[in-house]
């Protein structure tokens, strides 16, 4: 679960990490009131959306005084912010964070995440602040400093000193840097974060340290420990949220083949197979390794409500769940809905034959693929394949039921 900058900064402040004075506002009026509270300017007005590169898209503005804050806020709130990370569709801005602006002397990068290889939290820092971590790694790898944290010990003073001296900070900043870093680590562990990123961390001209930006991802698996933070979640009415309500793992993609698969790895492999056939998936949809008839029905409804979908591919490896039960679920779901696109079904596993028979006997228009090879052939010959197909032969079509083109 990604937190907004203003939410992340609430956690920072709780754990003693210094952030610039400021508050969130949902309207230009509220933004003005925040400016009043903060006193004198200059101020900074920052769009609160889940995407980096906000400055480039016009989502971050300096405002000299209260009136400027109101003006900038009225432009930003309600805008569709497009940044390199939002994609072309952009993101609607609901809120801005209004903060006091400072004269910056130096910018740093600082982040905490989990390193899979060592299975430990790792702290990354660089004096090349303001750049994305990917850029730092590519252009200035020698400036990236890392420390893995042993869970036996937690963050140790010597590790904080190691960052401090390698970042070449002024000696007088030692204790405020330590309390900032240990505060961030505290945030990371206390709130089960998968990422805490401060970019930039700044030293101001008057020698103060601030987390100027703040990005926090909370581990979705640890939600049960953080009910309070869960309440901060803002629903954006996306397909993904709709799917999550049915405990389906859905990601919207840009193709035309609606697909439903059980198991994330199998779903990815199916996407890859669709691609190999020269077409593109409209979505990733994992109904779960132990999918039942209800999950299948819900997933089916979700896909069919997407008007971009020109063909539905159901690829289920039955496993423990019997294929005949699954086939019934699919038949029921299709019967309920007015289905105008072709449906390709591939069932494998226990009672495969019985399931396939049920599909064939139904008066619905299913195309049955017997294995993954056939799935690829069917897609390749569906008319949705708009790119070169890698070694998928048209002849395979002959073996299959007729597909409307």
């Amino acid at each position: 679960m990604k937190l907004h900058e203003y939410q992340a900064k609430v956690l920072f402040a709780r754990e003693g990490v210094p952030v610039p004075p400021g508050e969130v506002a949902a309207s230009p009026e509220e933004a003005g009131a925040v400016a009043d509270k903060l006193g004198h300017g200059p101020f900074i007005v920052k769009a609160q959306v889940h995407a980096g590169g906000r400055g480039k898209g016009g989502g971050i503005k300096i405002a000299e005084d209260r009136d400027a804050v109101v003006e900038k806020a009225s432009k930003i709130i309600g805008m569709n912010l497009v940044t390199p990370q939002t994609g072309p569709q952009g993101r609607l801005v609901h809120r801005v964070l209004v903060e006091r602006a400072f004269s910056i002397e130096k910018e740093y990068y600082l982040a905490i995440t989990i390193d899979r290889t060592t299975a430990r939290p790792v702290i990354l820092a660089s004096a090349a602040g303001g750049m994305e971590i990917e850029e730092i790694v590519q252009s200035k790898p020698h400036l990236l400093i890392t420390e893995a944290i042993d869970p036996v010990l937690g963050l140790m003073p010597y590790q904080m000193r190691s960052f401090f001296y390698q970042l070449n900070m002024e000696p007088a900043l030692g204790s405020s840097f330590s309390s900032l870093l240990s505060g961030l680590y505290q945030v990371f562990t206390k709130y089960d974060c998968s990422l805490v990123e401060v970019n930039p961390l700044v030293v101001t001209k008057d020698k103060k340290i601030f987390a100027l930006d703040a990005k926090v991802d909370v581990d979705d698996n640890a939600r049960f420990r953080h009910k309070d933070i869960l309440e901060w979640r803002e629903y954006e009415n996306t397909w993904e949220e709709e799917a999550a309500r049915y405990r389906l793992n859905y990601i919207r993609l840009d193709g035309t083949v609606g697909m439903m698969v059980n198991g994330a790895g199998m779903a990815m492999a199916t996407m890859d197979a669709i691609d190999l056939a020269g077409a593109r998936p409209a979505n990733f949809l994992d109904v779960g390794g132990g999918a039942n008839a209800e999950a299948v029905a819900n997933g089916f409804r979700l896909i069919l409500s997407d008007e971009r979908v020109k063909l539905v591919l159901i690829n289920i490896f039955g496993g423990i769940l019997r294929c005949d039960v699954l086939a019934e679920g699919v038949i029921n779901a299709v019967s309920e809905l007015e289905v105008k696109v072709p449906i390709v079904v591939r069932l494998e596993g226990t009672n495969k034959e019985k399931g396939t028979e049920l599909l064939a006997q139904s008066d619905l228009n299913f195309t049955v693929a017997r294995d993954m090879k056939e799935v690829t052939s069917v897609i390749a010959n569906s008319g949705l394949a708009d790119r070169a197909r890698k070694g998928i032969k048209r002849e395979a079509l002959a073996k299959l039921s007729v597909i409307p083109e």
Partner: protein
Amino acid sequence: MSILIDENTRVVVQGLTGKEGSFHARQCMVYGTRIVAGVTPGKKGQEVDGVTVYNTVREACRAHAINTSLIFVPASFAADAIVEAADAGLKVVVCITEGIPVLDMVRVLRYLDGKDCHLIGPNCPGLISPGKCKVGIMPGPIHRPGPIGVVSRSGTLTYEVVDQLTKAGLGQSTCVGIGGDPLIGSTFVDILKLFAADDDTGAVVMIGEIGGTAEEEAARYIKESFPKPVISYIAGRTAPPGKRMGHAGAIISGGQGTAAQKMETLRQHGIHVVENIGEIGMEALNAIR
């Protein structure tokens, strides 16, 4: 032989009285696995399909000879269950549970460091030595005994691959689903090392996916010291760029976590990479011949 589990495996099921636990324990028993005890706190003395339930793993171990645990407890209690099993001296601990907080796993893996205990999973289908023993949730009938070791980060995708192998006439020594979470107990390399020492395993099929650098680490290990043929498949070639957080983690280990990079690394290290999942059975057959 076979690795990790065989005819001598004696299993305690943690969470036996739950819906999933009792269902899959029964399936394992049907396959021939010796489930000798169950553990559910507070349900001591109950029986599930003739299997006695105890309050703690240690208690179960005092009453029965047990060397393996199969865990179905909910995510919020799963880290505790894993440690309980390891602390009781069990050598193989299989955790099916999905959704364990990653910081719980940080501590669990640090705890297991240097301990004589193989953790399989979490968030995995478990493992099976066809014809001998099944400690997991995979469908038994698609498997056949044979010379192929299978190791995979995936669930149903593994069934797909195994099914193709079986249909191609390639039986399996042991199939291990190591799990899809960022932090897991046994890695590709850990399992490959066991396959290296297993006389019954002639070749290995390795199923990877996007994220992390486990496949790259496996590639290096295979090139340096794995003595048997390896056929691999990487899922997620067309997946949209993952969460950035995954990136930051992978960057540290010097990778990006993309399927393209993994496939390239595998090929560079001389490992056969299958592109089309539909062909993996036949390609394995050809590669091994």
